[in-house]
């Protein structure tokens, strides 16, 4: 057919055929792959080579690889209740490549930290990635927050966790993380360390409102620390824990029971720990 109309018709039919072929082969292709094939993740070259071969498009490549990982984990979540063991390697490899391509790209740190800590228990790799992120973006306080949480919750390294939380407060300008650090340290029996951290924060805080909040927390913890020392003296003297704070007063170890600036009352729990009914927050 040499007419224009005839040529257009041939083109139209060929385009329809093209669409038809794609449609026909779409579903069987997925079925033929099999589950094992579909669960395999892409292979990466050496991170340095990935960066070289990205030329000026490393950011886009980082985004694309991260998106690929999210899609992969999303597909696995349809088949498995929890991320399967074989998915850990793709997460780590993708994180190594993407942080090499664009170490400023936030999403990969968030994803890797979330999966590696909660699902795979590999807190050290997660922390290593977060430390790398901080090398390039030291102003990103959220990494300090994640590191603080990881140390506190997973590694039980309370002092290091508190150090990171304090740093999160300093960098973000939000004192609540330092408050949290002191509260967590107190809860884990490290009241003295919590007091030290709060004193440091008060010294370095210029905002009067925040300073007042920190000073209130400090006063409460100092009261608790005084009572904790008194409980220890009671135990050494009488070989048993006091039933209540009045016994400390009656034994002449303390002159009076300190006041909780949050409006609560200090007491001794069954294990001999000093607690307060306010839980170190203002009562209504």
């Amino acid at each position: 057919m040499k007419s224009k109309g005839g040529r257009l018709l041939i083109v139209f039919i060929l385009v329809l055929l093209m669409i038809g072929v794609n449609y026909f082969f779409d579903k069987p292709q997925v079925r033929l792959k099999g589950r094992e094939e579909a669960e395999r993740f892409r292979l990466y070259a050496n991170p340095s080579f990935e960066k070289w071969s990205g030329f000026e498009f490393t950011f886009l490549k980082a985004f694309y690889y991260t998106l690929g990982l999210r899609v992969y984990m999303g597909k696995l979540s349809e088949e498995y209740l929890a991320p399967p063991p074989f998915a850990k390697d793709p997460i780590v490899r993708t994180a190594e490549v993407v942080t090499r391509l664009c170490p400023y790209y936030y999403d990969i740190y968030y994803i890797a930290n979330g999966y590696l800590t909660w699902d795979y228990g590999d807190v050290e790799t997660a922390n290593r990635l977060l430390e790398k992120g901080l090398e390039y973006t030291p102003e990103r306080w959220i990494y300090y927050l994640y590191l603080g949480f990881n140390h506190f919750y997973f590694l039980k390294d309370y002092e290091k966790g508190a150090m990171y939380l304090v740093k999160a407060s300093e960098v973000s300008g939000k004192p609540q993380y330092a408050h949290l650090a002191s509260k967590l340290l107190y809860a884990s029996g490290r009241t003295e360390v919590a007091i030290g951290i709060l004193k440091g924060m008060i010294e370095n805080t210029r905002d009067e409102g925040w300073k007042r909040g920190l000073e209130t927390r400090l006063k409460a913890l100092e009261g608790i620390y005084e009572l904790e020392k008194a409980v220890e003296v009671f135990r050494e003297r009488f070989g048993t824990l006091p039933q209540n704070l009045e016994e400390l007063k009656n034994a002449g170890i303390i002159k009076g029971i300190p006041e909780d600036p949050y409006g609560g009352e200090f007491y001794i729990d069954e294990e001999g720990n000093v607690r307060t009914t306010s839980n170190l927050t203002y009562m209504d």
Binding site: S48, K51, W52, F55, E56, F57, T58, F59, L60, F63, L67, R70, C102, Y104, Y106, D107, Y110, I111, Y136, T137
Partner: protein, 266 residues
């Protein structure tokens, strides 16, 4: 000077008439449609991801189109014997090279800022929907300046190769090679400073150093990350990068002129 400007004007007109220009315009409209899709895929720092996409797309589209245009129009000159005709006129050979260069660079300038102008409103709109990172409209257009310098340098290199050979495919590979070397040389230099790099044979290190000093360092113009994340925004280093680009381009262009003066055109 009048002849140079006239040749530049003709070059711009030819470039606009090229079908590839309209293809890029359609691709840009598709890229704009991709912005909301990208928005829905982005977890955090939406303005940064959208900025990265917009600048990367602009970079890619302009580079591909300019390389294609330079090669295509030069090939046309040779095929249709336009070049012989132009040279036989009372026009200096250097005016031809300068005119072509100015025309391509002016067209690249229009293209870059046109694409950025189309993409910026959409990027700004979606960035405002989730402003969890800063959005600097000024940086978009400042990036255009760096891209323009890089394109100008590559156009000068293309003209240099075309002055050496009449085969545009050779010129295309030459430009592609310069592009690859120019963007990877920083990484190679960094590698040489590592333990593994220091153990390399002396001859290899010498070759790499020679290559470093001959080929242009195009990584200096890759300021996307700096603009998106506000890193390395020292004014002096940006100015020096631009100065480097301008100087290198001028030198390459002068080299192209010198070689073209003696080129056998048949």
């Amino acid at each position: 000077m009048k002849r140079v400007i006239e040749l530049a004007r003709i070059t711009v007109k030819q470039a606009i008439k090229e079908r590839s220009f309209y293809v890029i315009l359609i691709a840009t409209l598709l890229a704009v449609l991709a912005v909301p899709v990208l928005y829905s895929f982005t977890m955090f720092e939406v303005p940064r991801v959208l900025a990265g996409f917009a600048l990367s797309y602009t970079n890619f589209a302009v580079l591909i189109l300019m390389l294609f245009l330079v090669m295509n129009l030069s090939q046309t000159d040779l095929d249709r014997k336009t070049l012989q005709y132009v040279i036989s006129l009372p026009i200096r050979r250097r005016d031809y090279v300068f005119g072509r260069f100015l025309g391509f660079v002016f067209f690249a300038c229009i293209l870059i800022f046109f694409i950025l102008a189309i993409m910026v409103p959409f990027v700004a709109l979606f960035s405002r929907m989730r402003p969890d990172a800063p959005f600097y409209i000024g940086y978009y257009f400042l990036y255009g300046v760096f891209l323009l310098i890089e394109v100008a340098l590559l156009v000068a290199i293309a003209l240099l190769f075309l002055s050496l050979t009449s085969r545009t495919i050779v010129s295309m590979f030459g430009v592609a090679g310069c592009y690859i070397v120019g963007h990877t040389m920083d990484e190679v230099a960094e590698f040489l400073r590592t333990g593994a790099g220091m153990n390399m044979p002396v001859f290899s290190k010498a070759v790499i150093q020679v290559v470093r000093y001959i080929f242009p360092n195009l990584a200096l113009f890759d300021v996307k990350t700096a603009f998106i994340y506000g890193k390395g925004m020292d004014g002096m280093s940006l100015f020096l990068s631009l100065l480097y680009g301008v100087l290198y381009t001028v030198i390459v262009l002068l080299l192209a002129v010198v070689l073209f003066e003696k080129k056998e055109v048949y």
